[in-house]
Symmetry: C2
Subunit: 228 residues, 2 copies
Amino acid sequence: MFVNGVNIRHDERVSARQTAPRTRYHHGDLRNAMMEAGVELARTGGPEAVVLREVARRVGVSATAAYRHFSDAEELLEEVKHTALAELADALITAVAAVPADGDPPDVVVARLRAAANAYIDFAVRNAGLFLTAYCRTASPDSKYEGEPFADTDAFRALSGLLDQAVEAGCISPEWRAGADIASWSMVHGFATLLADGPVGRHLSAEAQAFAQERTVELLLRGLTASE
Amino acid sequence: MFVNGVNIRHDERVSARQTAPRTRYHHGDLRNAMMEAGVELARTGGPEAVVLREVARRVGVSATAAYRHFSDAEELLEEVKHTALAELADALITAVAAVPADGDPPDVVVARLRAAANAYIDFAVRNAGLFLTAYCRTASPDSKYEGEPFADTDAFRALSGLLDQAVEAGCISPEWRAGADIASWSMVHGFATLLADGPVGRHLSAEAQAFAQERTVELLLRGLTASE
DNA sequence: TGTACATCAGTGAACGCGCGTTCACTGATGTAC
DNA sequence: TGTACATCAGTGAACGCGCGTTCACTGATGTAC
């Protein structure tokens, strides 16, 4: 099948879910279009599904066109990864914001932590590939994101803020605040990983997964708020 | 360079660290030799480094020879993955066994849990690629390991046993025993992942990593043994 | 307002790469007699 | 003990694959005059 002189196979057009076949020779927004296609590939297939040629095919453009907007395939993957991290952070922040703020401060902050933990895990389950992409190794030392410490990401900042609130509210003793961020992150990240791409997700029933999730989150909260 | 009619490039022979160039036409133990080479490739390079042709090169054999011992490349990777899981379990069990058994039962069992957690994390740091390989997706539905639930792996059984001991010793209340295994696993697995292949390992100093590790493990133990 | 032209954003053919896998083969081994 | 021969465990040339990337190119755009 030919559209505007561009050879597009039928099944690819269908899977592409592109809004409309391109009508102009110049795409107009090719960089964003490729980013979106890359993100969709990553969402289900993980980082190794973000293949420059496939992205171009989905957008209905020659593979070479990508080089007008990305220096190479690695840069495309890095941008997709960045988007994945941003989506994850969004999910987290939205979930926290949805928790009613009225009530005892300690109760509120614990509810917020619980919401954040569950949002993180839910995101990983619902967007397994994208979650993996968010943490994939890209290994280009001259990336514009290189050297950006994780502490500067929105998700980690949100978690840190929550833990600070917990200290203020008296839920966490101040001497346990240090390291509590990475420890909390580890717990939800580990469970999310085991679920999204690991043996737990492969071998446990949905109900068993839900129970394990609840127990994991509660264990974390118990550890954080343990009195003694 | 030719050895026994087999073309072997110099740098490959060096990197291969094979004990001695093969002298006989028949290798004698090719399957094991390929497994070992695969494991070494995985140890630093992760699952995608386990490449059939490279394994053959390292052993000093033609790529085709592999098909006398493995049905295909996937089977080789699966065997390597299985070995990786076994090594991880070994590290865990050895560390637990090294904990002195005399003393108050509750203290002993907590020390054992701490040792297991640290062994898991240490293994992941020291053998990052192998750790990733242990949990890589292999996705062959007709694998001989398919359907083997993680609950049957040595590492998980060791952890479960430890948690049972903890309940017996009164460290964990019985109603919190269910799910504590996956929750504990999640925590160490998450930290190990963030360290071995993630942002924590890439952006934190060694001292900061050690502190984070200690805090993570203690948070887990606090959660498990929380009184209320 | 019309036109020349520089610039920008695409094209598609082609390349080299390393991979997994197949094929027909051959050298080594061990067993039956 | 010696020999014929089936079987086993290797060889290496070759194939097709999809990938990232390069190259010389061309169509579209917009700006200067």
